[in-house]
């Protein structure tokens, strides 16, 4: 189960925290949408990540 949450965390990080600003930089995503995606990604990261990282999870 931890592996699934771990994978989900990294998907959230890439999809909602890393890619949106890159798309914004390239002109493909407006600022408001980028900000909204990043907030959603932030909330999701802090909900999902403790599920596998809290007790040590992956090193």
């Amino acid at each position: 189960m931890k592996k699934i949450f771990s994978l989900l965390s990294w998907v959230i990080l890439v999809a909602l925290i890393i890619i949106p600003p890159i798309l914004h930089y390239s002109g493909s995503l407006d600022l408001v949408m980028m900000k909204n995606l990043m907030v959603a990604g932030t909330v999701a990261w802090f909900i999902v990540t403790p599920l596998w990282m809290w007790s040590g999870g992956e090193d």
């Binding site: 600003p21 914004h24 390239s26 990043m38 090193d59």
Partner: protein, 473 residues
């Protein structure tokens, strides 16, 4: 620096303390632990302050890109070749290694000095978090001209509340916050990068032509020169600062406490990920935030004193909205947490009756009061250099004790060999250069980081001289 404190504390808690013994082979950690640790712990609250301060000090983009590259490389080499070899050989904490040389009495004094400095550093981080907390409430962060001036009443109240919360949590739930910091680390690194990208877009610098011309940065520096007067932060200063901002950790040997868990000295290379992900990338991205604010809302970049300064909460909010506010709050908080905790340990060592909880609250109170003075964070560039000057010299003493005591004919680990709590030679060798260094910094206006290496060398040389001349054989 506080990131390294957190690293040391976490390693101890995972592996058993080994505070007064060599770390056994069974408790040593693999390389991945150190790479992961350094990766996550150098993109932190201090970066949000230091990055913009480079621009506010007038640094050119070219000097920043080259200078940070050289300086951070030198820092990595210092960790790798100065700290790690001694750490894997002796396997002691800095505190116990210093006690073996200097005696318990002198170590208490070192701890007190360290604790007070930690409190000021933590105070700066409380301010960083408070700048973000104030944004939704419309509370401005202003830096008064008088160093001991307070910010606005509202901002001061926010600092007191934020500081109190951080202090209570550090006293009651250090482990919880440390775990939370680990969770936040990858996210924080990504958000720092996002700050840089968005800032470039805001300045219209999201194409090769603009990036190559560097006009987006030059116009920001020109604005700074107009508001702050003629200021310059040249290549030499950038190199020295980026090399020595963590001087207490590498030259000062505080990271013996981290690398004593390493299987071999080559693990010192792990510091490179922290330096280049954190100090290089994060500093530049944070600096770009200020450049973007100058471009888009120059009136917001100027404080009540008419000068351009660093306001981390405002900078991040302008770029990333609520994510920016959240990242600055968390960055300041997770950096202040281990710093206050370790300061609490130092105070507890001096006043055992306080207990861990009381000592940590005391440290948190001192940090909060320091944080109420905006100039503490605004002067962070000078503060970290002063910090390294004060504490770096003990590393020179540890260095000569480790490599030269037998060769030059003075007692290795003198205090433990002669059962003394106060090694006069250490006290003199450490404090004389510090006194001269502080005079040069505060009396002669020397850029603080410039004093670190001369003090380190002087401490090392003086210890050899005093050890041979005044210590028992």
């Amino acid at each position: 620096m506080s990131e390294q404190i957190d690293a040391a504390i976490q390693l101890e808690k995972e592996s058993g303390e080994f505070e007064r013994s060599r770390v056994p082979d069974s408790a040593q950690k693999g390389a991945g632990k150190f790479w992961g640790m350094f990766a996550g712990e150098h993109a932190a609250g201090t970066e949000f302050m230091i990055g913009p301060l480079f621009l506010a000090a007038g640094a050119s983009l070219q000097n920043l890109l080259v200078g940070l590259l050289i300086g951070n490389l030198l820092a990595v080499l210092t960790w790798r070749y100065l700290v790690a070899p001694i750490a894997v050989k002796s396997r002691y904490t800095l505190y116990y290694q210093l006690e073996r040389i200097a005696g318990g009495g002198l170590v208490k004094f070192y701890n007190l000095i360290n604790g007070v400095l930690f409190c000021f550093l933590a105070g700066a981080m409380v301010t960083v978090s408070a700048t973000a907390v104030g944004i939704p409430f419309g509370v401005e962060f202003t830096v008064p001209e008088n160093f001991w001036g307070l910010g606005s009443f509202s901002f001061t109240m926010i600092v007191l509340v934020v500081g109190a919360v951080i202090a209570v949590i550090a006293a009651s739930g250090y482990d919880t916050v440390a775990k939370f910091a680990n969770i936040a680390a990858p996210w924080m690194v990504a958000v720092f990068a996002a700050c840089g990208l968005v800032a470039l877009v805001q300045m219209g610098a999201n194409n090769m032509e603009s990036l190559k011309s560097g006009e987006f940065w030059d116009s920001a520096v020109a604005f700074v020169q107009e508001k702050n007067g003629s200021v310059d932060f040249g290549l030499g200063k950038i190199i020295i600062f980026s090399w020595l901002c963590n001087a207490a950790m590498h030259f000062g040997m505080a990271d013996l406490s981290v690398f004593r868990f390493a299987k071999k000295a080559s693990y010192g290379w792990a510091s490179s990920i922290g330096m280049f992900l954190g100090h290089y990338m994060a500093w530049i991205c944070a600096a770009l935030l200020l450049a973007a604010l100058i471009k888009t809302s120059p009136e917001l970049a100027v404080g009540a004193d008419g000068k351009v300064g660093a306001n981390p909460g405002l900078l991040a909010h302008k770029a990333l909205g609520w994510t920016g506010i959240i990242v600055v709050v968390i960055a300041g908080w997770t950096t202040a947490n281990p710093t206050i905790y370790r300061a609490g340990l130092a105070f507890q060592g001096m006043i055992p009756k306080l207990g861990r909880w009381g000592a940590t609250i005391l440290a948190g109170a001192v940090a909060t009061i320091a944080g109420a003075f905006p100039n503490v964070s605004a002067q962070l560039l000078g503060f970290v250099g002063t910090y390294g000057t004060i504490l770096g010299g003990v590393g020179g003493i540890i260095f000569v004790n480790h490599y030269l005591s037998n060769k030059l004919g003075f007692t290795h680990d003198y205090a433990i060999a002669h059962k003394t709590s106060f090694n006069t030679a250490v006290a003199l060798a450490w404090l004389i250069p510090v006194a001269v260094g502080l005079f040069m910094i505060f009396g002669q206006g020397l850029f603080a980081a410039y004093a670190v290496i001369p003090c380190w060398i002087a401490s090392a040389v003086l210890y050899v001289i005093f050890a041979k001349s005044i210590l028992k054989k």
